[in-house]
Amino acid sequence: MTTQPSRIRNFSIVAHIDHGKSTLADRIMEATGALSERDKADQFLDKMEIERERGITIKAQAVRLRYRSKSGEEYQFNLIDTPGHVDFTYEVSRSLAACEGALLVVDATQGVEAQTLANAYLAIDNNLEILPVFNKIDLASADLERAIKEVEEIVGIDCERAIAVSAKTGEGVNEMLEAIIERIPAPQGSSDRSLRALVIDSWYDSYRGAVVLVRIVDGSLAKGDKIRMLATQSDYEVTEVGVFTPFPVQLQRLGPCEVGFFAASIKSVQDVKVGDTVTHAKKPATERLPGFKEIKPMVFAGIFPSDSELYAGLRDALERLHLNDSAFRFEPDNSKALGLGFRCGFLGLLHMEVIQERLEREYQLDLVTTAPSVVYRVRTTNEQLLYVDNPSRLPDAGRISCVEEPYYRVSIHLPSAYIGAVLKLCEERRGTQSGMQYASKDRVIIVYELPLAEVLFDFFDALKTITRGYASMDYEMIGFRESQLVRLDILINGEPTDALSSIVHRDRAYQAGKQLTSKLRKIIPRQQYDVAIQAAIGSRVIARETVKALRKDVTAKCYGGDITRKRKLLEKQKEGKKRMKSVGSIEIPQEAFHAILKAEK
């Protein structure tokens, strides 16, 4: 039995981080009886431990809920929860494409923030009906009028029928559910046409292979169907069809406009492309659903085992993660300094951190990771086009005709008191201002075009610091641009150490070289001989520092009264060594590989 489209509402919740999206989702599930007190773990939809800790959602999920309206009719609600971070903008856009409407949740104590705007625009781009929902009205600091005014002025959405709720107390939630029926359009789809289903996301299951979350657009999908993925042109037989309520329930079929999952003995999530169209192999649809993009990692870093014996374990762990994360790429890498490891590609810094943390936490691996790098587009003198994601692989200057780097458009929301400091930061990071607009009397939106590399280098931390945490930001890729870039190499005792190479702007190379060597001098512990640290561009050394040899490393006195303290000092030393990598005969702490990120600008 499938539900007729007029009784279906597909919607999503979009919000700035911490504005209460997950709590509101929980409340909706409770109000529709999907989640009893007993099952309730706060923020049910964020499954992974790391997601829960960081309060973000990485995978899209969908829950089917049954809702009986005040007028007594039963509706099928499909609540599609989207990833909540700019690293996953494309995934968010596909989740939204599966909906007809979105609840735009705004914290009534905070008002509009950068991601409120970015997510609202994503929803507008996908032609969704947007219902502004003002949350946290139970708090004394809530200022509903101000928040409504901001949404009207900044986002440009009519808030005449604004919905005020408290996800915490449940106040206003029933009114909101009625508004979903009234104001979000019913989906349009035909059961007569050939099957077209939009791939929203996929994840790996050890028993069923890749499980695919889809929104049926036309036709229907049933167990036993032979299907085809249009982007990859591969065929599968459907072994299972179902929905989450939020617990998985098997069904015979998914009808037009319904949202659910299927399994089809697909070996890996890499075979399932988010945004792809699923159709029947026998009677395929001719037209793909719009909006499909092949996603490309934007940030790259080397991941190496701290001990070469752990290489195989690391490879297994990466393969396991890869199974469940189609955006994450890795390939074997061989660094002269760090030995055998992997070059990994991520959607962004957050994605990278999450993967590193999972490797360390779930797989208990001691890792040495290199500083993240963006991908550079290089035109060589013999007219080749290269994509370089590892600074040490940038060809010698003589072979390069030009280097291009990825640029982002960064929108920063901040109280106007901090404008000066933020403009200075953006200028220092080689930014070009492309807009500034007063959102209200004391809030400003500054738009800059910045090299991604500069955004990666603790830009957000610096922004938070200079605005005391009051700024929020959002960004999107706008393309590659030519820049005067050079490779800055680091030589340790005369040996180039590839894992410490970086790509910097020519005008700042001297300064960067000086800062990096001085930083490394402080990070690299003294050893039994002098360690020379040089920064070089090509064969020209531009900065030099020396870590003086440790000539004596022995405690003078060790008697009964001081044993605990001295033992602890040595334990700490031993612990620190775990995180070091021997490069030649020199011990280099993990921190050194990230020194470039922290170099003061």
Binding site: D307, Q528, L550, R551, K552, D553, V554, T555, A556, K557, C558, Y559, G560, G561, D562, I563, T564, K566, R567, L570, E571, Q573, K574, E575, K577, K578
Partner: protein
């Protein structure tokens, strides 16, 4: 198995700016001699009441400046110890730490009559310039005088010296060592000046206001001292200690072997094994009034630590590897319940392979030529969870 006792006397005429042992500066006549001694004897009684009857290896009166202790009062402490422990008079080493200037011939004789049989004298330097830098309350001549009367009255004398001072040459320091050996001193400790952060020197260093010797000079001095004293028949038996045959400090060797010790007095530390793979370490309150008030009970302790097999192994390594003889493997095994050599971790085996650690029979040691880098070797040899 044997036990040692450390007795702390937390008073000094004035504090030396590099010293991080606990003491309070006080005019000697104001020290509460009797009360402190009574408290100490009380503490001894309850701590020793349930102890197994182990032979007493050594007693060490440290400080502070224990040579400010009235010899008769100190004698009462020793009497109480003798009464409690089976002690063969000739066999227990009883050392008193003293400063030149606070020891006289009469006092030395009185300490001897109380049962002290060894003096450890904080001479530090024979050069008045260096003594002023260290802010010692005596000059070089006072040091020589103290040694002379110590040798006459007690026979066994150990002398502490400090190197690594600003404007100190290796030749001058080694010359002083030779001179001391020539006087008949049979035990010499040569300590590299260590700047601890919580001392006046530490604070001056932080502000960049402390002139210091160079590290490479201290390293050179360490090696030259060994050369000088070995030529005179001394054994370099621990990182900072040299002795003629039969003259090693038994009390300190007991620490380096990981033996049990009772600590008595304000801020004193004690450590006793409580079973295989278990030991308990405690520290008494440094507050003298509080110490006197609570010395009869466990509340006198301000810190305690339970050591497990891992800590026992690592401490055995840290202490034993400082000595020429090294770590006695069967003893460590018996105390920790773990076998040191069956470890699989690579660091440990690397050290053996590189010869930085050497196993000979039942002993594991660091060859003396690698002692300049002893701490990093020991840290690498540490076991981790």
């Amino acid at each position: 198995m044997a036990i040692s006792i450390y007795v702390h006397f937390p008073f000094c005429i004035r504090k030396c700016p590099y010293c991080d042992f606990y003491s309070v500066a006080i005019q000697p006549s104001l020290i509460a001699q009797r009360q402190y001694t009574d408290a100490l004897i009380d503490e001894l009684r309850w701590r020793a009441s349930d102890l197994f009857d182990l032979p007493l290896e050594s007693v060490y009166f440290g400080g502070g400046t224990p040579s400010l202790w009235d010899p008769a009062e100190l004698g009462r402490v020793l009497e109480a110890i003798v009464a409690r422990f089976s002690r063969d008079q000739a066999d227990t080493e009883v050392t008193l730490e003293c400063n030149p200037g606070s020891i006289t011939k009469d006092r030395a004789a009185a300490y001897r009559r109380s049962g002290v049989n060894r003096l450890s004298i904080g001479v530090q330097s024979l050069d008045d310039r260096h003594l002023r830098y260290l802010e010692r309350p005596h000059d070089g001549q006072a040091g020589l005088d103290a040694i002379e009367l110590g040798l006459v009255e007690l026979g066994r004398v150990g002398v502490d010296m400090i190197y690594g001072l600003a404007e100190q040459t290796t030749e001058a320091f080694c010359g002083e060592l030779e001179r001391l050996a020539g006087l008949g001193v049979k035990h010499l400790s040569a300590y590299s000046l260590t700047i601890e952060t919580n001392t006046p020197f530490g604070k001056r260093k932080q502000k960049g206001q402390l002139s210091m010797g160079r590290e490479e000079d201290a390293a050179e001095c360490f090696l030259a001292s060994r050369k000088t004293l070995e030529a005179l028949g001394f054994e370099h038996y621990e990182v900072s200690n040299y002795a003629l045959p039969g003259e090693k400090s038994r009390h300190n060797q007991h620490y380096w072997r990981g033996g049990d010790y009772l600590g008595l007095g304000a801020s004193a530390v004690g450590c006793l094994h409580t079973g295989m793979g278990r030991a308990r370490r405690y520290r008494n309150t440094p507050d003298i009034d509080r110490y006197i008030a609570y010395s009869k009970r466990a509340e006198v302790e301000s810190f305690e630590e339970q050591l497990g097999p891992l800590e026992i192994i690592n401490e055995s390594l840290m202490l034993g590897l400082r000595t020429r003889s090294g770590v006695h493997l069967p003893t460590v095994q018996a105390r920790s319940g773990l076998t040191l050599l069956e470890r699989r971790d690579r660091d440990f085996h690397d050290l053996l392979q590189k010869g930085l650690l050497v196993k000979k029979g039942d002993w594991l040691k660091i060859p003396a030529e690698n002692w300049l880098y002893l701490d990093s070797i020991v840290a690498n040899a540490f076991m981790t969870r």
